[in-house]
C-alpha cells in the first residue's frame, strides 16, 4: 500500500517536530540559562531565580490567558490597558472609596472579565477581527484609566492588599504561586476538559468545529473573558506590588505577552501549542532581561535580543508548517 510508505516518511518528520514541540523551547531556555549562569554566578542564586519568576509572573498570568485566545486563532491587544484600568480601580477601592479589601479584589477581577467578555462578544457577534476590537478597547481603557485616576497615580495600599503582590508563602513570593497555579490549572483544562479540547478544535478548523456541533461563539467569548479576568488578576498583582495604581501600568504588555506565547511554540494561526510552552516563553524573556541587567548590558540590547527571539520563534513555526505539507 502506498499509504503505508507515506505514513512512514511523515512519521520521521513528525517525530522530529513532536520532539521539537516538546523540548525544543525548553532546550533553548536551558542553553540561555546555563550561559548566563556561567557569565555571572549570582544568576543561579535562589533569590535571583525567585526574582525572575516573580518579575515574570505579572506578564505570565496574562500570557496564560493569551494562550487560550491565540490557540483559538484570536489575539488581544487590550490586555495592557485592562491591567492599568483594573489596577487603578483596585487602588481606588483601597485608597479612595472606603478601603474594602473584598471590593478592591473582586471588583477589578469582575471588570477585567467583563472587558474580556466585551472583546469576545463584539468580535464574534459583530464578525469583526479581534485585532480591531481589542485595539479599540486598548485605547478606550487607557483613556478610562486616566479618567478615573484624574491623571494622578493612586498610592498607599493596605498591608493585606499588599500581600497579593509582595507577600511571601514560606520562601516563595505569592505572585509566583498565583502564576504557577494558573499555569497548572490551564494545563489541566487544555488537556483534560471538553473546553480545552474544543479550544484546539476551533483554532485548528473553526468550520469543522462548528459542523461538529461545537458552540464556537460561546467558547470564543469564554476564552476572551478568561483572558480579561487574568489581565485583571495581573492588574491586582502589579498594583499591590507597586503599592500604587499607575497610569502607565501595563503599557506595552501586549507585546511581551504575545511574545511569550509565540516563543512558547503556540502558533499565531491557532490550533497548536500549549500553556507549558508559554511558561517557558515567559521565563525565557524574563531570564534574558534579568541576565543582561546583571551583566550590566546597555538596555537597548534587551529590546534587540527580544525582537530577534520573537522573529526566530515565528520563523520556526513557519518552517514546521512548511515541512509538514511537503
Amino acid at each position: 500500500m502506498p499509504v503505508l510508505v507515506e505514513e512512514k516518511s511523515t512519521q520521521v518528520f513528525q517525530k522530529f517536530f513532536v520532539f521539537w514541540d516538546r523540548v525544543g523551547i525548553l532546550l533553548a531556555f536551558l542553553v540561555v540559562f546555563v550561559m548566563f549562569g556561567a557569565l555571572t554566578p549570582v544568576f543561579f542564586h535562589p533569590l535571583n531565580i525567585l526574582n525572575v519568576i516573580r518579575q515574570v509572573s505579572i506578564i505570565g498570568v496574562i500570557a496564560v490567558g493569551m494562550t487560550f485566545v491565540i490557540l483559538l486563532g484570536g489575539i488581544d491587544l487590550s490586555v495592557g490597558s485592562i491591567v492599568a484600568f483594573t489596577g487603578i480601580i483596585a487602588a481606588g477601592f483601597q485608597v479612595k472609596w472606603g478601603g474594602s479589601l473584598f471590593l478592591s479584589i473582586v471588583v477589578p477581577l469582575l471588570i477585567g472579565g467583563g472587558i474580556g467578555f466585551l472583546n469576545g462578544f463584539i468580535s464574534t457577534k459583530g464578525k469583526l477581527h479581534p485585532f480591531i476590537v481589542t485595539l479599540g478597547m486598548m485605547s478606550i481603557f487607557r483613556g478610562a484609566t486616566l479618567l478615573v485616576a484624574q491623571g494622578k497615580p493612586i498610592s498607599g495600599m493596605s498591608p493585606a492588599f499588599r500581600f497579593i503582590g509582595a507577600g511571601m508563602v514560606g520562601p516563595i513570593p505569592f505572585p509566583v504561586i498565583l502564576f504557577l497555579g494558573c499555569v497548572i490549572i490551564a494545563g489541566i483544562v487544555l488537556k483534560r476538559t471538553v473546553f480545552g479540547r474544543y479550544i484546539y478544535a476551533i483554532g485548528g478548523n473553526e468550520e469543522a468545529a462548528l459542523l461538529s456541533g461545537i458552540m464556537v461563539e460561546r467558547y470564543k467569548i469564554s476564552a476572551f473573558t478568561l483572558l480579561g479576568f487574568l489581565s485583571g488578576l495581573s492588574g491586582l498583582i502589579l498594583t499591590s506590588r507597586l503599592n500604587s495604581g499607575e497610569l502607565v501600568a501595563g503599557q506595552g504588555y501586549e507585546l511581551d505577552v504575545i511574545a511569550s506565547v509565540v516563543i512558547g511554540g503556540t502558533s499565531l494561526m491557532g490550533g497548536e501549542g500549549g500553556v507549558y510552552g508559554t511558561l517557558i516563553g515567559a521565563l525565557l524573556i524574563g531570564v534574558v532581561s534579568n541576565g543582561l541587567n546583571l551583566l550590566g548590558v546597555q538596555p537597548y540590547w534587551q529590546m534587540i535580543v527580544k525582537g530577534v527571539i520573537v522573529i526566530f520563534a515565528v520563523l520556526l513555526d513557519r518552517l514546521k508548517r512548511r515541512f509538514r505539507t511537503a
Binding site: F43, N51, Q55, L146, Q150, G151, K152, R241, L247
Partner: protein, 320 residues
C-alpha cells in the same frame, strides 16, 4: 461647501470671542497648548498659569486639549491663529514636529513662549523666550548631595552608586544623567552603575532587584524621577539585604508621594524644579511683552532646581 461652513463657524467664533473679551473687559487673549491635560503634571501647569492670569487681571486664557498627539497640537495652534489670540504659551509635544506651527505663529506676528520642553535648537523660527528647568543642573545637584552624604559616611567620597536613568532618548533623561555623571566623574572612588528604568515605577523596581542580586554593596541610588526611586525603594525594602534608611536615595520631581517618604526618613532627597513657577514666569514674560513691549533679557530663563530634604520640605511646591 465644507470650506464655507468652516469659514462661517470660524467667523462666528471670532466675533464671539472678541465680543466676549470686550464684554468682560479683557484686553488680552492668550492660548495655552499643552500636550495633554489628562496628565496631572500639565493640569498643574495650567492651574499655575490661570492663577497668575487672575493675579494679573484682564486676560482671557484659552486652553485646548491635544491628547498628546503632535498633529492635533499643530491644528490647535492653527485654530488659535484664526481665533486671533495675542500670544501663545506652548509646551511642545515633540521638539521638531511643532516647528511648522511656530512658523505660522511667526507669520501671524503672534509671540510664542515655550515652557518645560524646548523646541529643537537652531530651528529657523522666532521664540520670544523659553522658560525651563535646568535638568543638567538638577542632575549635578543630586550628584553633589550624594557625594556629600558619602563623605559623611566614609570620611571620604567613595562607594557604589546606582543610577536609574529615564527613557532612552528622552531629553530630561539625557540631561539629568549628563549632569549627574559630570560630577560623579570627578570622584574616582565612587563607582556608578547605570541602567534604564524608563521613568516607570515598575521598571525601577525590577532593575533594582537585579542590581541587588549582582551588586553586593550599594551605598546610594539616584532615580532620574521619583517614580523610579519609589520602585527602587520597594525593591530595597523587600530584599532583606539592605536597610532602606541606610541607603542614600535621591529622586527627582518632588512628587507628593516622594515628599511623604522624605518626611518619614525613607527617601533622603528629591530635586524640585518648581514647574508652577516655571509656567507662571513664562506667562508673565509673555504678558509683559504684549502689554508693555518688554523683551526678556535672555532668550533662556532657567528656574534654579533645588534639593529638597527633610530640612526644607516646606519649600517644595507640592506640585500634584
Amino acid at each position: 461647501m465644507r470650506k464655507l461652513i468652516l469659514g462661517l463657524v470660524i467667523g462666528v467664533f471670532l466675533v464671539c470671542s472678541v465680543l466676549g473679551s470686550l464684554v468682560l473687559g479683557k484686553d488680552l487673549t492668550i492660548g495655552l497648548s499643552f500636550p495633554s491635560l489628562s496628565f496631572a503634571w500639565f493640569a498643574f501647569l495650567e492651574q499655575a498659569v490661570k492663577d497668575k492670569a487672575a493675579q494679573l487681571g484682564g486676560i482671557e486664557v484659552i486652553s485646548l486639549e491635544a491628547e498628546n498627539n503632535v498633529s492635533k497640537q499643530i491644528s490647535i495652534i492653527e485654530d488659535m491663529i484664526i481665533k486671533g489670540v495675542d500670544g501663545v504659551l506652548l509646551v511642545p509635544i515633540e521638539v521638531e514636529a511643532v516647528i511648522p506651527a511656530i512658523e505660522a505663529l511667526n507669520k501671524a506676528n503672534i509671540p510664542v513662549v515655550t515652557v518645560d520642553r524646548r523646541i529643537k535648537e537652531g530651528a529657523p523660527v522666532q521664540i520670544l523666550c523659553h522658560v525651563g528647568a535646568d535638568n543638567v543642573e538638577g542632575g549635578r545637584k543630586a550628584a553633589r548631595f550624594i557625594v556629600e552624604k558619602l563623605t559623611e559616611k566614609y570620611g571620604e567620597p567613595k562607594g557604589v552608586v546606582i543610577e536609574l536613568t529615564g527613557t532612552p532618548g528622552a531629553g530630561p533623561a539625557i540631561d539629568r544623567s549628563a549632569g549627574f555623571n559630570e560630577i560623579m566623574k570627578q570622584y574616582p572612588n565612587i563607582v556608578v552603575k547605570s541602567q534604564t528604568a524608563n521613568f516607570r515605577r515598575e521598571d525601577g523596581m525590577k532593575v533594582m532587584e537585579d542590581f541587588i542580586m549582582s551588586t553586593p554593596q550599594i551605598d546610594a541610588v539616584f532615580g532620574a524621577n521619583d517614580e523610579m526611586i519609589l520602585g527602587a525603594i520597594q525593591a530595597l525594602d523587600a530584599s532583606g539585604k539592605f536597610d532602606v534608611k541606610e541607603v542614600i536615595t535621591v529622586g527627582f520631581d518632588a512628587l507628593p508621594e516622594a515628599l511623604k517618604l522624605i518626611e518619614e526618613g525613607v527617601l533622603d532627597a528629591t530635586i524640585e524644579q518648581f514647574p508652577g513657577k516655571q509656567a507662571a514666569t513664562a506667562f508673565e514674560i509673555l504678558v509683559k511683552y504684549l502689554r508693555e513691549g518688554v523683551t526678556p533679557e535672555k532668550p533662556l530663563v532657567y528656574i534654579e532646581p533645588k534639593v529638597i530634604t527633610k530640612d526644607n520640605l516646606n519649600e517644595a511646591e507640592k506640585s500634584f
